[in-house]
């Protein structure tokens, strides 16, 4: 395959570097991504953590090439898959990569699935169109996929419509759909947010299991620190269109290197602090039309000092695979 031929050996599977995206609206230009970089390798889980509006979904949509343009415009950076920059290839090549190279599952499976076609139709159409299977072959393979994600009575449910599935089953069907073309990288955009807690755990277990089996790279986008802790190998924390901290999961939880990460971890309800006031992060994320000067987090930061108000902090490397965009990164990390 051409994809594997162009592989640069010492490069990770998917590398996003210095991604710049802006939304041009009638209210002005919002810089939604300001130089986002991360990478994921085969068999690895990269979690992207952040509040709503931090740019984590936009990054994923840029990788997939499914941004709504207008208003979104990619103004810089690259998305290298096997070394090939997806932002500069032809639309046909881009389309080839979708589904078979990089696939995506969405937060709300009910709206992400087409309401007027059966689950089976929506999975089988990829197999028929992309892999040239006959209807019968595609149907058999679809039932296998539904079995794989443990949907009971797959042979019967293949002919049902999305609204006839429960929330958890719909998300399983969505996962089956994303696996149809054997992708090397799977992007899961808040895959469990719309589900109740017990189902959340089942879906995460399923994702993890499938990823291990297939050695897929998994980009897990979430705002749920609990979900991340169990499955992520590495974590990137996003704030106002930037990655403010990147670290392996263990180090990040033990010794966060950015005040924002610190605050996020503090805001998790803990049993040993039962009865005490839950700590929150004061203020709200900044409007991207009007980002504060200096460090965008400084109005909410308990450590904010003079340089934070004027100078945008650069990424400081803190040992292997760790980085933080804070003027006081060393102090924050050594505190823990």
């Amino acid at each position: 395959m051409s994809a594997s031929m162009s592989r640069v050996d010492d490069q990770p599977l998917l590398v996003v570097s210095d991604l710049q995206v802006e939304f041009r609206t009638s209210d002005g230009v919002a810089k939604v991504l300001n130089g986002v970089s991360y990478h994921v390798d085969a068999g690895e889980t990269m979690a992207v953590l952040g509040e709503s509006g931090s740019g984590k979904s936009v990054t994923a949509q840029t990788i997939m090439g499914i941004l709504d343009t207008p208003p979104a415009h990619v103004t810089g950076g690259s998305v290298r898959f096997h070394g090939e920059d997806l932002l500069t290839v032809s639309p046909e090549r881009r389309r080839e990569v979708r589904g078979s190279g990089i696939a995506m599952i969405f937060q709300d499976a009910l709206s992400a699935l087409n309401p007027v076609f059966t689950i089976g139709f929506q999975i089988a159409e990829q197999l028929r169109l992309r892999q040239g299977m006959t209807r019968r072959e595609a149907r058999r393979r679809t039932i296998e996929l539904l079995d794989l994600v443990r949907i009971p009575h797959a042979a019967r449910r293949v002919d049902e419509y999305p609204h006839e599935f429960s929330g958890g089953m719909r998300q399983r069907a969505m996962i089956a759909m994303s696996l149809a073309l054997d992708p090397e990288v799977l992007i899961a955009d808040e895959p469990t947010t719309a589900l109740d807690v017990t189902v959340q755990a089942q879906i995460m277990d399923l994702l993890k299991e499938i990823q291990d089996e297939r050695q897929m790279g998994l980009i897990l986008i979430t705002h749920d620190l609990g979900v991340v802790a169990e499955v992520a190998d590495r974590i990137a924390v996003m704030y106002a269109g930037r990655i403010v901290e990147e670290a392996d999961a263990r180090s990040l939880y033990r010794r966060p290197a950015h005040p924002y990460t610190e605050a996020l971890l503090d805001s998790i309800p803990r049993l040993d602090l039962k009865g005490q006031q839950l700590r929150t992060i004061r203020g709200t994320p900044p409007s991207l039309l009007n980002v504060p000067p200096g460090c965008p987090f400084h109005p909410r930061c308990p450590r904010a000092a003079e340089p934070c108000r004027t100078t945008l902090p650069t990424r400081v490397a803190l040992g292997v695979g760790r980085a933080s965009a804070c003027h006081f990164a060393e102090e924050v990390v050594s505190r823990g």
């Binding site: 997939m64 499914i66 709504d68 389309r95 080839e96 990569v97 979708r98 589904g99 078979s100 696939a103 995506m104 969405f106 709300d108 709206s111 992400a112 699935l113 087409n114 309401p115 007027v116 076609f117 159409e125 990829q126 169109l129 992309r130 419509y161 609204h163 759909m177 073309l181």
Partner: protein, 308 residues
């Protein structure tokens, strides 16, 4: 679904009885001599009036008249005009032409309306969008008889592209321009409805999913987007077909088409009560059937709709 259809069909019975009774009453209970002017300048001879009164049961109380009429109707007998022509025959002669005209109008409406709506809905603001918006507004604003006469004069008389009137065979080709005139108003609505529907669904999550699956753009639009967007459009067109089947008095009049609309119009003018009652009864049934068809179609198009 089967039970729903059955229930709806049963509902036809009271509606059928109600409408036929209302129409019968309105046609026959109005004051005035039904035979006035039937015999030229002079009043009708007594012998004629006696025969006619007997034939149409005019001496019976209205309710008895109605029941006798209904009895005949249920046996498939629509009755006769005053001059003895079977009304059933008149309907059989006129209705195929009306159905043909309705089909032509509906096809034009669907093809041009949906295409224009699809193009403008996909492209968004621009020259084409404005062109369609303005021209549909124009069509909506102009009465049918104006469109009809203008096209007849321009295409038929000035440029000689078509025959100004439709022959009694009413061939499909002859019905193109009248069909366009008849369908133009709904065509404008279909274009606007499709445009809005496409524009709304274009940003839907499932369209994004279809793109993310790596499907070709043609399939994303032609299957995933269009299939969802045409649901309200097809519902509208179904209702419209019901109306078109009721005949088009103005369009048929302008192009001299021998359809059901003209038949009804002439019968009202000449006080042919039997014909009016028969034709209107038929139209009511057709309209009810069309509405039922629309409801069933809606459930077929959108699997989330269930009637049982």
């Amino acid at each position: 679904m089967g039970r729903y259809v059955l229930r709806r069909l049963l509902q036809f019975i009271p509606v059928f009885l109600g409408t036929t009774f209302l129409i019968y009453t309105m046609v026959w209970a109005v004051p005035g001599d039904p035979f006035a002017g039937k015999c030229g300048e002079r009043p009708c001879p007594d012998a004629f009036v006696t025969v006619m009164t007997e034939r149409f049961n005019l001496n019976d109380p209205l309710l008895v008249q109605y029941v006798k009429y209904l009895g005949q109707l249920l046996q498939g007998n629509f009755g006769e005009t005053f001059s003895g022509v079977p009304v059933g025959q008149l309907i059989v002669d006129a209705y195929p032409t009306t159905v043909k005209l309705a089909v032509v109008a509906l096809v034009i409406e669907a093809v041009i309306g949906i295409s224009a709506g699809l193009l403008t809905g996909l492209r968004g603001r621009g020259f084409l969008d404005n062109l369609v918006l303005v021209s549909t507004l124009f069509l909506i604003a102009i009465p049918t008889f104006v469109t009809g006469y203008v096209l007849q004069i321009l295409l038929g008389l000035r440029w000689g592209i078509i025959d100004p009137t439709v022959s009694s065979e009413a061939a499909w080709g002859e019905l193109l321009v009248p069909g366009f005139v008849l369908g133009s108003l709904s065509m404008a609505y279909v274009a606007r409805l499709t445009r809005t529907s496409i524009a709304e669904n274009l940003r839907a999550d499932y369209v994004r999913t279809a793109v993310a699956k790596g499907l070709p753009p043609r399939r994303v639009v032609g299957i995933h987007l269009l299939r969802n967007s045409v649901i309200p459009v097809i519902t509208f067109m179904g209702t419209d077909l019901g109306a078109l089947m009721g005949g088009a008095i103005v369009t048929e009049g302008v192009f001299n088409i021998r359809g059901i609309g003209g038949l009804l119009f002439r019968s009202i003018l000449t006080k042919e009560g039997v014909t009016v009652t028969g034709v209107v009864t038929l139209l009511v049934i057709v309209y009810l059937l069309m509405n039922l068809l629309v409801d069933v179609l809606y459930a077929v198009l959108d699997p989330r709709i269930r009637y049982d």
